[in-house]
């Protein structure tokens, strides 16, 4: 069989041109303000700004529900069923609700949001997500005054997710945010990438993306969002509290016990490309630093 290159099926250049066309006719202007990637240094800006290829974004994933190797999610998620899908918003709210994916796509308009993803393992990608602010979704319920944190629960389905048949993590995958972090406009509900439906291996049908935190904070395949009174214990905190804190903000000054966080590798740059310096809050400090005023980020890592 002839090997068809991905680029022959969906040329990224065309995709990118389409984006500039959208820009030129002035649509999505509101999204453009938010879609910018901040840079510390203009000379490296162009390299850092470059979108990671669709192939790398969709074949190099940490998604332990489908296996612990980075090529596993792509291979093992092909037949994963994402319909029907329902998300429950509950906990410390006046009236809990359940929304189907259809209802969500009718209620909220997904826009393009280009954000850098920084993995705790020391690599990064630039991904053109499709999504909307989590605050829009959360505004559909009225939290009680006890609500201080948000807990995200990912799907538990060991029949379809073979990684969940082993005690790699305490399934289902669990993550959390402080309410002000969850309400921040950069905190995104992701429904797609590269202008297409979100692939299974990237967390379909719906995931969270928090650009200033390490990738594992951005839970995939969400089924439940719960308002809670106390700080939730995420799956990774439960697995190793010394290594994974609740906040997990990208911070080049706080090293993970096993990986230096001072530098990162840009995915797709090849064998000879050097590491680049990691930016505080992954480069989103202007937008989010105020959330942590007065906090010792070495202590609350």
């Amino acid at each position: 069989m002839k090997n068809i290159k991905y680029s022959e099926i969906t040329p990224e250049k065309i995709y990118k041109n389409r984006r500039s066309f959208v820009k030129s006719i002035g649509l999505g202007a509101s999204s453009l303000a938010i879609s910018t990637i901040p840079f510390a240094n203009h000379s490296i800006a162009s390299e850092r700004d470059k979108l990671t290829s669709y192939k790398d974004i969709t074949t190099y994933n940490n998604y332990y529900e489908f296996g612990t190797s980075k090529s596993d999610p792509y291979r093992n998620s092909k037949t994963f069923k994402t319909t029907p899908w329902e998300i429950s918003i509950e906990g410390e709210v006046e009236k809990p609700i359940k929304l189907s994916m259809e209802e969500i796509s009718e209620m909220f308009v997904s826009e393009e949001r280009i954000y850098r993803l920084r993995c705790v393992e020391g690599w990064s990608m630039v991904i053109p997500w499709m999504g909307f602010s989590l605050s829009e979704l959360l505004s559909k319920v009225n939290p009680t005054n006890k609500a201080k944190f948000i807990e995200f629960e990912s799907v538990y389905d060991p029949a379809q997710m073979k990684g969940q048949r082993y005690p790699v993590l305490n399934w289902p995958y669990n993550e959390g945010l402080r309410i002000d972090e969850a309400m921040h406009p950069l905190t995104t509900v992701v429904t797609g990438l590269y202008g297409k439906k979100l692939p299974n291996q990237n967390g379909a049908p719906l995931r969270i993306f928090i650009p200033w935190k390490y990738g594992f904070k951005s839970a995939k395949a969400i089924v439940k969002i719960k308002f809670v009174q106390n700080m939730p214990t995420s799956s990774w905190m439960w697995a190793s509290p010394r290594e994974y804190g609740f906040y997990s903000n990208v911070n080049p000054n706080v090293n993970h016990p096993r990986w230096s966080q001072a530098t990162e590798r840009i995915i797709g740059e090849g064998l000879w490309a050097p590491r680049v310096k990691t930016l505080m809050f992954n480069g989103y400090g202007d937008e989010v630093a105020s959330l942590y005023t007065g906090m010792d980020l070495k202590k609350y890592f």
Partner: protein, 194 residues
């Protein structure tokens, strides 16, 4: 026939190296090429440690003494792949930028123990020749028992660098522990039966 066995083992042992060269030149290393080379050479170091440790149990089970003659070749390939692994990390990944490297060695236990394992390999590689066996006599055997420590260090290095022990780090740990346990048996038997 027998005289082709040793060169055969040597040639087979170079296959992982040729494979990584092929991947480098044909650009088949995937999205994170440096990490790919690091993991590849690291894993093959562990595989060669396991192979080296398998020779004397194999000799015992099959009652064929030929196995022992492969041990030196396999052991030297442990050193070869471990050195490639170290060079990838120091040279390719960190560009011989010593300050972050030293920082890693001191602060991260998996790097510390990995580096320690490589240092322990040095005297074994240096004293691997027939001449050294002759010169060191009884001490040679004692010195080369360091491979047991190196095997444990290598396995810990893998466990500590992985986010979870599942599954490969666990598999190597079990294999190494079994290979070491087989030796304890040999010893006991010698004591029991004189």
């Amino acid at each position: 026939m027998k005289k082709y066995l040793k060169p055969g083992v040597f040639i087979l042992s170079t296959i992982p190296f040729l494979l990584i060269l092929y991947k480098i030149f044909l650009n088949k290393l995937g999205p994170e090429p440096v990490k790919e080379i690091t993991h590849f050479t690291g894993e093959w170091t562990l595989i060669f440690i396991c192979l080296t440790l398998s020779m004397s149990p194999l000799k015992r089970f099959t009652k064929l003494s030929e196995w022992i003659s492969f041990r030196r070749t396999l052991g030297l390939f442990v050193f070869f792949y471990a050195t490639l692994h170290l060079l990838t990390y120091v040279g390719l990944d960190y560009r011989f930028n010593w300050s972050p490297i030293l920082d890693d060695v001191v602060k991260k236990k998996y790097i510390f123990i990995g580096f320690a394992a490589w240092l322990l390999l040095l005297p074994l590689a240096i004293t691997s020749s027939q001449k050294m066996i002759f010169l060191l006599k009884n001490k040679w055997k004692k010195l080369h028992r360091l491979i047991y420590v190196i095997a444990i260090f290598g396995s810990l290095h893998y466990i500590w660098l992985s986010k979870t022990i599942f599954f490969r780090p666990l598999v190597y740990l079990i294999i190494i522990l079994v290979l070491l346990a087989l030796r304890i048996k040999i010893k006991n038997r010698n004591i029991n039966y004189g």
